[in-house]
C-alpha cells in the first residue's frame, strides 16, 4: 500500500532530533510492549509481515504523531482483535477509553512475475527496472524506486515474498536482490552526482529494461 510508512524522499519533517545517551527504553510501558510483541510472535499469532502491515494500516495522522512503541502496541492490538483473541470492546472496557486499531486490510491481487525458484532471473550486473506497481496490500517495494532503473549488486537467495506472506499466511519464496540506484536516477539531475542508494528487492518487483 502507498501508506504513510513509506517515507523515503519526503520533505518537510525538519532536522533529525538526536538524544544524547538515550536509554534502550524511555518508559516502563515501552519495555513491556517490546516484550509483549516478542511473546505473541513466539506464539505464532503474528509474524514479521503481518505485524509490519498492521503498523502500515494505522491512521496516518496517528502514525506520524505517535512513538515507535505506540506503533507496536497499535499493531499488536489490531492483530489480536482481527484474529479474535480479544475484542475491541473488552480492551476498551479495561482501558476505560478508546483503543485505536488500524484500518482493515484491503487485499488486492499480488502481481507475481513468472518466478522460478530454480534459478534467479537476474544476475550480478544485470540492469533492472522496478515495476510501477501500487498494490493495496503489504509490499516492501518503496515508492521512491518504482519505475527507476538500477544495477544488481548482489543476489541474496530465496526469501518469502512479503506481499504474499502478510496476507495468505503461506509462503511464496522468491529470489531477492540488492539493487544500486544512482541518486540522480532517483531524484533528478540536481541530486548528488556521487551518491547512490542500495535497495533490497524481490524478483516480482523487478523487470528487464
Amino acid at each position: 500500500m502507498n501508506g504513510v510508512h513509506d517515507l523515503g524522499g519526503m520533505d518537510g519533517f525538519g532536522p533529525v532530533d538526536v538524544e544524547a545517551n538515550e536509554p534502550v527504553f524511555h518508559e516502563p510501558w515501552e519495555r513491556r510492549v517490546f516484550g509483549l510483541v516478542s511473546a505473541v510472535s513466539a506464539q505464532r499469532l503474528s509474524n514479521t509481515h503481518t505485524f509490519r502491515h498492521a503498523i502500515e494500516r494505522m491512521d496516518p495522522a496517528h502514525y506520524l504523531t505517535s512513538s515507535y512503541y505506540e506503533h507496536w502496541l497499535t499493531a499488536l492490538t489490531t492483530l489480536l482483535v482481527e484474529k479474535g483473541v480479544a475484542t475491541r470492546s473488552e480492551l476498551e472496557a479495561r482501558a476505560g477509553g478508546r483503543v485505536p486499531v488500524s484500518q482493515p486490510v484491503r487485499p488486492g491481487p499480488v502481481v507475481l512475475s513468472a518466478v522460478s525458484a530454480a534459478a534467479p532471473r537476474f544476475t550480478l550486473g544485470s540492469t533492472v527496472v522496478v515495476r510501477n506497481a501500487h498494490p493495496l496490500g503489504h509490499t516492501r517495494c518503496p515508492r521512491y524506486v518504482r519505475g527507476k532503473r538500477g544495477i544488481v549488486t548482489r543476489v541474496d537467495g530465496l526469501f518469502p515474498l512479503p506481499d504474499v506472506a502478510a496476507h495468505a499466511g503461506d509462503r511464496c519464496d522468491q529470489y531477492a536482490y540488492n539493487v544500486r540506484f544512482a541518486a540522480q536516477e532517483l531524484w533528478g539531475n540536481t541530486a548528488d552526482s556521487d551518491a547512490a542508494v542500495y535497495v533490497d528487492l524481490w524478483e516480482s518487483y523487478l523487470e528487464a529494461p
Binding site: R32, S38, A191, A195
Partner: protein
C-alpha cells in the same frame, strides 16, 4: 513485589498509551497467552547483553586481523557468528566497508530494520520520520546536519534495509591507533559510526 505491580502503582498518572498497554497485557495474561517472566527475560537481554559493544568488538577484530576482515566482508553473518553474535534481526548480515573515498550509511525507509545482534535496539532518531525520509534523498546534507561533513569527493552509499538483509558499517580505522590493543580499539567504536552517521 513484581515489576508489573510497580507499573500499576506508578505515582504519576498513567498516560493513555500506558493504560492501553497494561489493559492488553492483563488480558493476554488472563487468556494464558503470556508466561510470567518471559517478557522480563527477553527485555533484559536487550538492556544488558545486546548492544553496540558487540558490533564494536566485530569492528576492532576486523581492524587487527586482515583475514577476519576478509571473511566479514565476504559473509557478515558467519564472521559475526565467530564472535558469538547472532539471533533475531541478524539472520542475514552484510557489512559495508568505509574507505577514504567511500562512506556508507544505513537506513530503513519503510520501518526500522536494524542489525539487533551487533547494535542492539535502534535509537529513536533512527526510527524517526525525518531520518527515514531524508537519508535516501539528501544524504550529504543530512549527514552534515548530523555533524559529519564529508568532502564532495567522498562517494556516499546509502543502504535501505528493505528486505531481509541487515547492514552494519565497518568504519575506517583512525590514524595513530597502531599501538592500541583490540580492546582499546573496540572502545573507540561508536554506534553511530556503525550506522554511518559518524566516523571514528
Amino acid at each position: 513485589m513484581s515489576e508489573h505491580d510497580d507499573d500499576h502503582h506508578h505515582p504519576a498518572p498513567l498516560s493513555p498509551v500506558e493504560v492501553r498497554a497494561l489493559a492488553l497485557e492483563d488480558l493476554l495474561k488472563e487468556k494464558g497467552l503470556i508466561q510470567e517472566g518471559f517478557i522480563d527475560a527477553v527485555v533484559r537481554a536487550y538492556e544488558k547483553d545486546i548492544g553496540p559493544m558487540n558490533g564494536a568488538r566485530v569492528v576492532a577484530r576486523a581492524w587487527v586481523d586482515p583475514a577476519y576482515k576478509a571473511r566479514l566482508l565476504a559473509n557478515g553473518t558467519a564472521a559475526i557468528a565467530e564472535l558469538g553474535f547472532g539471533g533475531p534481526e541478524g539472520e542475514h548480515l552484510v557489512v559495508a566497508e568505509d574507505t577514504a573515498s567511500v562512506h556508507n550509511v544505513v537506513v530503513c525507509t519503510l520501518c526500522s530494520c536494524y542489525p539487533w545482534p551487533v547494535l542492539g535496539l535502534p535509537p529513536n532518531w533512527y526510527k524517526s520520520a525525518p531520518y527515514r525520509a531524508r537519508m535516501v534523498g539528501e544524504p550529504r546534507v543530512l549527514l552534515r546536519e548530523m555533524g559529519l561533513d564529508l568532502p564532495e569527493s567522498v562517494e556516499i552509499r546509502v543502504w535501505d534495509s528493505s528486505a531481509e538483509i541487515r547492514y552494519m558499517v565497518l568504519p575506517e580505522r583512525p590514524a595513530g591507533t597502531e599501538g592500541k590493543s583490540e580492546a582499546e580499539l573496540a572502545a573507540l567504536v561508536t554506534r553511530d559510526a556503525m550506522i554511518g552517521t559518524a566516523r571514528v
